[in-house]
Amino acid sequence: MNTASLVILALVLLGAILALVKIRTDRRKRRSCCNGCAMRDCCAAERRGSGRCP
């Protein structure tokens, strides 16, 4: 495998890692404390630590 191949492969892998990180970050943001509750993205009260999910 020549240098160009390695560079392209590294870029694709970097993209895959970034995509994975993005998915995980988004998931953490909307940690499903409130499944079934209409206020998505984790209810604001819970996120602020000042309330609980019904």
Partner: protein
């Protein structure tokens, strides 16, 4: 006396009693359907159910079963609510709650009396109001944000936060629309907890000035929370245009909170509103009035009961950190959350029950109706003194005229079908297809360019295949669907913004209820025809978790536009000249399968979580292009984000499986790949359907990534050679019904959790397998 469902169209009546129980009853009372209120049936849905009512000058739709619980007495004309003028002047309130006007900040705050927050304190404000009163429009104006605004109740399904422009020390949260602070829905419970949270410093309560009586019902409850608040009277321009007016200073004096007339859409009065809101929050100015009961009203039964309960629970409320007036009212209404929070002793509970029983007997109304009546009595008196009612609004009259056609008995469904057909035709054929082809060709050209460039650099064939086949081929084919998605959302948001969606929910409710759904489910299901991902997401507007789950699970039965290439490919190969007929049959088959599954699901799990269908029908408005464009940009970004994260990763995995064998050597023939190995293991499952070829199974597996790739895989592997007319039919049916793509599953996972997403994959595959088997047998008998 007759029940409301039997009242003739146009016959005015007065409500005598509101029966029923639980959530629906409290909701009806909160919507202004209280004993003594005037009501008129203005229309019925084409099937006769639900009915459309006029209450307090606004349109409300209600199922006949729910209306049957309301008893009414016919009268000659809509009653004018009698109101004496004794709530108004309160010298104590006036003298002790003088609030600075615009530009007078600090005027009434001497150093001795003011109790301001520290200068560096963050001012967290909440924006609360009933559904469809312009909250999100105001939020966008306040923060410069681009949240989606719709003319359909319940558009805001997430709490959104933002910083008020020019005030970096402030945060404002747009709460979902709520009708009351009773715990009917998760939104109401969460909203009140949010407002009561210690770091919520203030509240902006936005009301529709044109429907002020009903909107003030929530205002009074918010005031009982004793949180610094400002009342924003929105749509004042419309009110003025219809000849109405509000004596704002008088209202401010009576309520004991700052009142500001605004027009969120016209950006009028915003500066004054912000100044007042930040002022009350900074100086911790709670509402000066929280007492809305009248000792002279019906002998003062409610007044005495409420104040007695307040005294009884004073220490418990303080311990639970709940405002005592709020706690007492909710306790009388029978709010279990407040009852638990107060931790009352048995003896205290018994005392309170005795007080309530005495009040019910004396007042002649049950507890919930008595409290609702107390609030509405206060509101009527307040409005009698401060509101110059507008004549029947032009917007309302125009909407009524349009509704005669769009929701007419014989015209509603044909017009709806015509509109949907036009949207699908324009989206998929006329505008969408050329744009998609253009984008697809562009991406292919880029792929070819990249391939040529890598060839010139002597890049390894494996890496070339990774870039050209996986990234440009896989992700690119999904990205090429952006125009179709945008167009579909454009048309659907136009329908929603105009107010038509609420009407569709209104006249399809009767049919959808028979299969265990709600009228509101129609919106996500229709969106699902374009793409299951936004369809699943649109289910958020449904008020109950039960309806939401059922709707999401049925969305995949609405064949999405990404499956169209499969139908077109197989039709042209096996049913040349009959593509249109095949398409219609498949769509109808999918809908039929969905109905059967819904009916079976309803029999197996009858569930009591279906929400009552009480829907306010907004006036028709011209869609605001700014809102529509904001929505489109949001959806595009969302779609692209998904394409470059979930779909990108899944493509890489499939490519690896398709390109290498078990010893990680690159294969020259795909039949040696890991994917072929896996597909070969699964293939026997498809033998009863006549689809036991591993290549068919591989194409179906690749469809899990994106439905469009089924066609490309079939073409790549030469599947058509192994198929006949007899096997093409079950393949079409299987493709129609089997698991949605990974993006849709990810959306389901986000909305319902991993277990429901997993269930959907298995369930859809089983349904598709059974349906394909049945079709294969039938086709075998006929062909």
């Amino acid at each position: 006396m007759i029940t409301l469902n039997k009242l003739e169209i146009g016959q005015p009546a007065v409500i005598e009693t509101v029966g029923g129980e639980g959530e629906i009853r409290l909701h009806l009372l909160g919507m202004g359907l209280i004993p003594g209120a005037g009501v008129k049936v203005v229309d019925r849905a084409p099937s006769g159910d639900p009915i459309q009512l006029e209450v307090s000058g606004y349109a409300l739709s209600l199922r006949k079963a729910d209306a049957a619980a309301i008893k009414v007495r016919k009268v000659d004309g809509m009653p004018e609510q009698a109101a004496d003028n004794n709530v108004g002047y309160n010298a104590y309130l006036h003298d002790h709650n003088a609030h600075p006007g615009l530009g007078e900040g600090g005027k009434y705050h001497s150093r001795d009396h003011a109790n301001p927050l520290p200068k560096d304190a963050r001012l967290n404000l909440a924006l609360a109001g009933q559904q469809n009163c312009g909250k999100t429009t105001l939020f966008n104006v306040l923060t410069g944000s681009n949240q989606h605004v719709g003319n359909f109740p319940g558009v805001t399904v997430e709490g959104k936060e933002g910083v008020i422009k020019g005030h970096p020390e402030s945060t404002i949260t747009d709460l979902p629309g709520i009708y009351s602070l009773s715990p009917h829905t998760a939104e109401e419970l969460v909203s009140r907890e949010f407002i009561l949270a210690p770091d919520t410093r203030g509240l902006i309560n936005i009301v529709d000035a044109g429907n002020i009586e009903r909107h003030l019902y929530l205002t009074l409850q918010l005031m009982e929370l004793n949180v610094p608040m400002v009342l924003a009277l929105n749509m004042m321009d419309e009110l003025r245009g219809n000849g109405g007016s509000i004596r704002i200073n008088e209202m401010e004096r009576i309520l004991g909170i700052p009142v500001v007339g605004i027009s969120a859409a016209g950006q009028e009065g915003i500066e004054e509103l912000v100044e007042h809101a930040l002022h009350v929050a900074r100086y911790r100015e709670g509402p000066a009035r929280q007492d809305f009961c009248d000792k002279d009203d019906h002998g003062g039964a409610v007044h005495r009961c409420l104040h007695s309960v307040m005294h009884l629970i004073e220490d418990h409320a303080a311990a639970a950190k709940l405002p005592v007036r709020f706690a007492a009212t909710k306790l009388i209404e029978g709010d279990p959350w407040v009852e638990n929070a107060l931790q009352l002793h048995t003896a205290e509970k018994e005392n309170i029950e005795r007080l309530i029983a005495a009040m019910e007997q004396e007042r002649g109304l049950d507890r919930a109706a008595a409290i609702a009546d107390m609030r509405y009595s206060f509101i009527r008196k307040l409005c009698a003194q401060t509101v110059v009612k507008p004549r029947e609004s032009r917007e309302y009259l125009r909407s009524r005229r349009i509704d005669r056609i769009l929701t007419g008995k014989w015209t509603a469904f044909p017009i709806f079908a015509a509109i949907m057909a036009l949207i699908i035709w324009l989206t998929i054929d006329v505008i969408g297809a050329p744009l998609q082809e253009l984008l697809g060709n562009g991406i292919s050209a880029l792929g070819a360019l990249a391939g040529g460039w890598m060839e010139s650099l002597d890049v390894s064939p494996a890496v070339q295949s990774l870039v050209v086949d996986a990234i440009f081929g896989g992700v690119g084919s999904v990205v090429s669907f952006v125009p179709v998605i945008i167009l579909l959302f454009f048309f659907l948001s136009m329908l929603e913004d105009s107010g038509y969606m609420a009407r569709v929910a209104y006249f399809t409710d009767s049919f959808l209820r028979k299969i265990g759904l709600s009228g509101r489910s129609i919106v996500p299901l229709l969106i699902g025809l374009g793409c299951s991902v936004p369809g699943v997401m649109a289910a958020r507007t449904l008020p109950s978790a039960y309806d939401r789950r059922r709707t999401i699970l049925l969305t995949p039965f609405m064949s999405c536009s990404a499956k169209l290439p499969i139908y077109a490919f197989l039709s042209s190969a096996f049913f040349p000249g009959h593509g249109g007929l095949v398409l219609v049959c498949l769509y109808l088959f999918a809908i039929l399968a969905g109905i059967i599954v819904a009916l079976v699901g309803r029999l197996l799990h009858r569930g009591n979580g279906a929400a009552p269908f009480v829907l306010e029908l907004p006036n028709y408005r011209l869609p605001q292009m700014r809102n529509v464009l904001h929505l489109l940009s949001d959806k595009t970004v969302d779609f692209l984000k998904r394409a470059f994260t979930v779909i990108f990763l899944a493509t890489l995995v499939i490519w690896c499986l398709q390109t290498f064998d078990w010893r990680l050597n690159m294969v020259s023939d795909t039949s040696d790949s890991m994917l072929a190995g896996v597909a070969g293991c699964i293939a026997p499952l498809f033998t009863p359907l006549g689809l036991g070829d591993w290549r068919v199974v591989t194409a179906l597996i690749s469809g899990f990534l994106a439905k469009e790739s089924v066609v490309s895989t079939m073409e790549l592997l030469g599947v058509t050679a192994s198929l006949t007319v007899l096997t093409a039919i079950p393949l079409l049916v299987f493709c129609l019904l089997y698991t949605p793509c990974v993006a849709a599953i990810a959306a389901v996972r986000r909305e319902l959790g991993a277990h429901w997403a997993g269930f959907m994959i298995v369930f859809q595959c089983v349904v598709a397998w059974v349906a394909a088997l049945v079709v294969y047998w039938i086709a075998g008998l006929l062909i």
